[in-house]
């Protein structure tokens, strides 16, 4: 170290910093390169389109979850919200013959209401949203099962297909919607005062309150927002599956959480970017897709996904500790 010229070590330092800052992106890149060597079908436009469409549903919900996570909360109920809204939407269309123009807004309002209920409970009961949404997840899922009555609900208008199965300029519609929502989310988070409040809430709730932020209202808005976005996911998923089943959407919250954590969204709040989140989503997409191409059994896929999550989180913690140590070491030298 001592004999190395100063510019070299500073360059190495910069590269090291960039490596750490863009660690999720590096992982994604490494996976892309690895799998394109392993499988000839992997790096094709067709396969990539399929891969992105596969994760676009989780990605849309993940934007909502990320807002909640940055504010220091968590929403484990989105999968169950989707189960419930999905079944209701299916019944409305198949049995109630409610026109699309009415059924879709009703679904979105319903999603918002379910999210708002989460927020309301966590504010009123003053219990961490992890516990609240664990409870509401059971309730929403149960309600979905009750409403569905073990039916496979079919018979939707054909015009409904466009949301999940259609293309816009050769890009699947869910992917387009994902991009739009990601851009809006990123804009709100980085450019608006609302975004500042979200970070403030996760960074130091009491300081935010004393600075005049209505913390409770913010929490309820954020959960409602998360519910609204999951409502969109629900509509897209039903259009994609084209049958109302209680299995749709189940477990999607784990993909959302994994993506958020992989992408550097802090579990404690106050940290996160849409760019990181989307990287996390794509890592999950690539893994899913490659394992399917390699015809990995379903259960092995679960093991791999779990391991990737743990490695990513472990790396993150290691990095933060190292950063803290370096800061401490640097200060006395000044």
């Amino acid at each position: 170290m001592k004999n190395r010229p100063a510019f070299l070590s500073s360059l190495a330092g910069k590269i090291g910093l960039a490596m750490r800052k863009y660690a999720p992106q590096m992982i994604l890149l490494a996976l892309l390169i690895l799998f394109s060597f392993l499988s000839p079908q992997f790096m094709t436009l067709y396969n990539m389109t399929i891969m992105v469409r596969q994760v676009s549903f989780a990605a849309i919900s993940a934007v909502g979850v990320m807002f909640v996570m940055i504010s220091g909360g968590i929403d484990l109920s989105i999968g169950s919200q989707i189960v419930f809204t999905n079944v209701v939407l299916a019944i409305m269309m198949a049995y109630g013959h409610v026109p699309l123009i009415l059924a879709i807004p009703i679904t979105l309002v319903m999603g918002t209401a379910l999210g708002f209920f989460n927020g309301l409970l966590s504010v009123k009961l003053k219990v961490h949203s992890l516990i609240i949404t664990l409870g509401t997840a059971m309730i929403y899922k149960g309600l979905g099962y009750i409403v569905a009555q073990a039916r496979n609900i079919m018979g939707f208008p054909d015009s409904f297909r466009v949301f999940g199965q259609g293309y816009l300029w050769k890009i699947p519609v869910p992917v387009v919607i994902m991009i739009v929502i990601a851009l809006i989310g990123s804009f709100i988070l980085t450019r608006t005062y609302f975004g500042r409040y979200v970070f403030a809430l996760g960074g130091n709730e009491e300081a935010a309150r004393l600075a005049g932020v209505n913390v409770n209202v913010m929490k309820m808005i954020l959960f409602a927002l998360c519910g609204f976005v999951s409502g969109i996911t629900s509509v897209l998923l039903l259009s994609r599956v084209f049958a109302g089943q209680v299995s749709t959407g189940q477990g999607i919250e784990f993909d959302c959480l994994t993506a958020a954590l992989l992408g550097g969204v802090s579990f404690k709040g106050g940290e996160g970017t849409v760019f990181g989140l989307m990287t996390g989503i794509l890592i999950i997409g690539v893994l899913n897709n490659a394992m399917q191409l390699a015809s990995f059994p379903d259960f092995s896929q679960m093991v791999v996904k779990g391991a990737v999550l743990l490695i990513a989180v472990g790396f993150d913690v290691y990095q933060k500790n190292r950063k803290a140590r370096e800061t401490v070491a640097r200060v006395p030298a000044q």
Partner: protein, 528 residues
Amino acid sequence: MRDALKLREWVFDDFYCEGGLPPPSQTNEINERMDTKVVLSLKGITKRYPGVLALDHVSLDFLEGEVHALLGENGAGKSTLIKAVAGAIDLDGGIVHVGEHDYEQMTPHLSRSLGIEVIYQEFNLVPPLSAAENIFLGDRLSKSFLVDFKTMKSKTKEIFDLFKVDIDPGALVQDLSPAQQQIVEIAKAVSKNVRILIMDEPSAPLSVSEVARMFEIIRQLKQRGVTVIYISHRLEEVFKISDRVTVMRDGRYVATRLTNDTNRKELLNLMVGRELTEVYPSRTIIPTETVIEIKNLSGNGDKDISFSVKKGEIVGLSGLVGSGRTELAMLLCGAVPLEGGEIWVNGKPTRIKSPADAIKHKIGLLPEDRKAHGLFLEMGVQWNICFPIVRGLSRNGVVDRKKETQIAKKYKEQLDIKTPSLEQQIKNLSGGNQQKVVLAKSLAAESDILIFDEPTRGIDVGAKQEIYRLMCMLANNGIAIIMISSDMEELLGMSDRIIVLCEGKMAGEVMKEQFSQDFILDLASGTL
């Protein structure tokens, strides 16, 4: 010398009236014990924290069987010194000499095995366990695999009997009063064959009569040859209990005196280390119109508090810990709802129900615990300064970042905040600069009324001066300031008037002409 003795007698008389205990018979014994051997010797202890030299070559001897008081202001290095002895921190230099050996580095285990026990301000007890279980926590009394509750209880009873206290060994610690919990802590130390007992501000949670009982226990320990290192910033206690007293200031050793040979004034001068008048910038008050008037305010534990603050005035709020000063600040800034009374701002009644309302009425708070309540540590300087006004800086919800940078820059220059950039994370700034960022936040919100809650806590001396200078500048610019402080010198030096609280009630309002530390302390402790 004779004055000092008289003072001591007076103090003792006073004390025994309160505590109702027999008068001391060992007054001479203290002097006889003075020539006993050194049990703990510190040589050139140095400890550096980022940006601060917490301990600067401190050398100090402690004798067997003495009660040795450590005095100093906040940030003088008392707590760091005991952490060094207890092995809780890594030293940057110096030697700890205990018994026959020199140690360059203490560890908690080593320190324990040498018979050193520390009772910290926050008790180290397990609330849901019994007193006996706490005392013998981690000790195996017998070879058996099971806990021997019987021996445990009888041994605990023995120690309690020694202290002549009546606590049930089986009582859960969470059901005990703070004073009883402290006795459990002391008993815990005694059960481990303590030779040197270090007590950090032990009187803080105790009432007057409880302090008397604690002193009785300390005397018993002393008679058994235990050295007690007593850390306090209450001078009265130092005179009541200690044999010798060492003063520290800004991480340095200042002087050691025999308690009998010194007096209050000398110790105060040693602690502060300068003539008090020099420290605080002089200011000519121009009493003009009243900005804020508090009428019969109640809530958050406070009752019926009334006073007013004029433009350009600094009003001090004094009182002991728990007297309701911070609670009052919380009421004024809307953090806790009022239960009664009114707050008038600029001659009009207000309805302050939330912090947002307080900000609307231009009331700003610089909280006591700035890291927990005032700052977003992970965020940048600009982000923090502009946070309260970020909504006002927005058009259609989008923040005007140009304007934001302008404002942040303005206050960075005005308050001389030392930071490499406006993006620098707050957690990397020094305490003084963090406090300036909190101040900048309130100034950016254009507050007319500023409440400073312990504005100089945990800030080094140089930065303190700057904060004082800034406060005076703000007052001269017509801002009404309410200052809460436990630092009496600071309070007397800065305030134009002092409101004294005692147990949530107004104990008095002291004008500048009447300023005296004793008078205010008497008001604060409710003895008048």
